[in-house]
Symmetry: C2
Subunit: 439 residues, 2 copies
């Protein structure tokens, strides 16, 4: 039996507890598969006295995470502290600089500082692994970085936030409105007390930015992800989408735009209408699913639980097993599949020339002439309307909903039509635009 892989664990929240439980529960199995035991040596968290439901007495306690990262009896550090900067980042840098491999579930830190950390690991010849940062227990980082490695990825898209997907599919099942379902999700622990990180799309954007870097070999560019959340979606939108043959899902999409001979990176996290016959239309509850379209493999789908202590711990320990096996992600390092120095810097791609179909929903005053005004703006901007429905009065205020789906055309035309309507007294609120997910 080879010597154990000795780990230190920082952060003992839900996921940290899950990692300890997993390593204890599946110890024999892990040893057989890794070829040696994975042994927790030291742990660290903010509050030593808190009851976490796991017995920590076998492990050395370190108040100082930085000191823990430097311990001679530690081979790899697991960072589950969270936060893009602060103690998590300090710990990550320290661990790598002390020659420890680093495993993290921290999508914010990787989205913001992943390349810096990757460069440090390339120098230190240790591993940086973050399978748990995207899609919980679903091995999609590995699937893209290794499983699909032979392919030029044409497009990457998916459902990257379990909270949003739980809310949208519950709205669909129950006909209830966003706020109502959000409260339920909070009560069930599927949504945080402050849900904005999830429902505004930021969490999905972090994950998309990480996946883009691996799929396309571009430097991570989280700041340029065009992000729109799900807070404005109403039960009526979901009913209308259903009548048209679609469900609504928060979808992250990324691709390389080669328009005009220049390679630019398109990244968008928006709610989309997904046709019933698309695999992503059947992804319900707190599930994540990622599709990668390769030039040889075709369309690959990875799906599973996107969050929770068990699935996230599964991904963390899978990374540790890789490290224990000696599979550090290539002798050359390269946590993002290629060396940081070789990654392309791509400008963000504009979206105006993109061809697509859109769902546009207006809340308008219930008086004659409004529909004529809207359709005139569409005509003037060159938007061709495929179907349009005006719903009867559905709220006290006397506003009615007008929902339309456009024929395929450049996105700029829809923007132009909405610009023409800006400031119109007929509109009770800004229109809501959602793209239809194309094949």
């Amino acid at each position: 039996m080879a010597a154990p892989l000795r780990i230190a664990l920082a952060g003992l929240g839900t996921v940290g507890g899950g990692v300890i439980r997993l390593i204890e529960t599946n110890a024999a199995l892990i040893t057989r598969r890794a070829g040696r035991p994975i042994e927790i040596v030291a742990v660290s968290a903010r509050d030593r006295s808190k009851d976490r439901g796991v017995d920590l007495s076998h492990y050395a306690w370190e108040d100082d995470m930085t000191a823990m990262a430097a311990r001679d009896d530690v081979d790899a550090v697991v960072e589950l502290v969270g936060g893009a900067d602060g103690p998590a980042l300090t710990l990550a840098r320290n661990a790598i600089q002390h020659g420890k491999s680093l495993v993290t579930a921290n999508k914010a830190m990787i989205a913001h500082h992943g390349l810096e950390l990757a460069e440090l690991t390339e120098k230190a010849k240790v591993a940086l692994k973050f399978e748990a940062a995207v899609a919980g227990g679903v091995p999609v980082i590995k699937g893209l970085r290794e499983g699909a490695a032979a392919n030029n990825i044409d497009r990457l898209y998916g459902i990257l936030n379990g909270t949003c997907n739980f809310i949208l599919s519950s709205m669909e099942d129950t006909g209830r409105d966003f706020a109502d379902v959000l409260s339920e999700a909070q009560a069930k622990g599927y949504a945080e007390a402050d849900p904005s990180f999830d429902v505004e799309g930021t969490d999905a954007a972090h994950k998309l930015a990480i996946l883009s870097a691996i799929a396309f070999g571009t430097r991570i560019d989280f700041a340029s992800v065009d992000t729109q959340g799900i807070t404005r979606i109403q039960a009526a939108d979901i009913a209308q989408a259903d009548a048209l043959g679609y469900v609504i899902r928060l979808i992250g999409v990324a691709e390389v735009d080669e328009e005009g001979g220049q390679r630019r990176l398109f990244q968008r996290v928006h709610p989309h209408l997904v046709p019933f016959d698309h695999p992503l239309a059947h992804v319900d509850g707190a599930t994540n699913a990622v599709v990668a379209e390769g030039n040889f493999a075709g369309r690959l789908l990875f799906q599973g639980a996107g969050a929770g202590d068990g699935p996230t711990a599964s991904a963390v320990v899978a990374d540790l097993i890789d490290i224990a096996r000696g599979d550090l992600g290539g002798e050359a390092g390269a946590p993002f599949s290629i060396q940081v120095a070789e990654m392309e810097t791509m400008a963000p791609a504009p979206s105006g020339h993109r061809l697509g179909r859109a769902y546009i929903r207006f809340m308008v005053a219930d008086r004659p002439g409004v529909l004529a005004e809207i359709t005139a703006a569409m005509r003037d901007a060159g938007v061709s309307i495929e179907s349009l429905i005006q719903k009867g009065r559905h709220e006290e205020g006397g506003n009615v909903m007008v929902a339309m789906v456009t024929h395929e055309g450049p996105e700029a035309r829809v923007s132009e039509a909405l610009r023409l309507l800006e400031g119109s007294p007929a509109l009770a609120e800004p229109p809501l635009v959602m793209q239809l997910l194309g094949d």
Copy 2:
């Protein structure tokens, strides 16, 4: 730039041509990701003169595959010859014994001789990789062996044969019968001239046996896979399943049966009724999909094109990139996740005590009393019928179809009921039984 990974390629059929095209088309990308080029040094096939649509003039031609496997200028051998034994197996043994890593798409060879080859590679400290042997371009071997490595797998199941899935989903879409759709599949190249390997379930059984070994750490036991193909399924069965809320799919299922304190291996490839709301119910065409249920990760789904030159080549080259990166699957070898010496030998699990619901279809003479005879047999065997339908005369012969779905109960009771009916002159042909896929 590190030295290239030099490969020899045996077998230049559809997949071999695909591998050459992929390595040529995506050469720059592969070099960046692998950290070094992957270079084809030598090729071999039965017939040198055949036009394969790829230019072979850059590569050394070897008439003798065994000699090719021994070349000093080759680091890894790709076996795409096919066949469980014969030249493929000889080549595989020779390559490994000469210290070359082996990559193969050959599911029959791995299902029959995978453990022997794995033991050879453990000694030779080279890699044995066969991602392309299961589910085409879908990285499910990697997903199970590495991505889900931290989990005790509770159950594994999926759609493992693209030909059968194409036929069944086409029957569903068109209402046509098996033979008719099979001819179309053959014309389109989705089915072989001799389709029995696919439609009798053998191909799916090979894949299931390989996945079982990785998921459960058991020695491969292809011979014990309880296999039943799709040839007896009629358009009327599909219509009946649809009316009940199901589609019919050929599903391979494997799990460890711990009944009675002994660990036994249950492996079955049968057509199943899959409820509309199950992810596998939406897997259409020549697609494969594998579900693994882990004790921490929950339900993981891997889906994509199950065959074809592009997807299969994608998997072969992904394996080569792993090897080029130095990720040989663990310092300890272990192509099946754990060392061969540590794999369990499990007896096949009996199915009689398994609880499940079944669809049973009878073709019976259209005369009074037949239904009473069938239902009496069910009653005597203790089978509880949930729903039953008798379809009007649908063919010249004057037989009618009786289809029923049972309540949950032990499978042995259904077998007993059918035994009671054996030899009854009322039955025009043996009944067809299909299990309902449970949650």
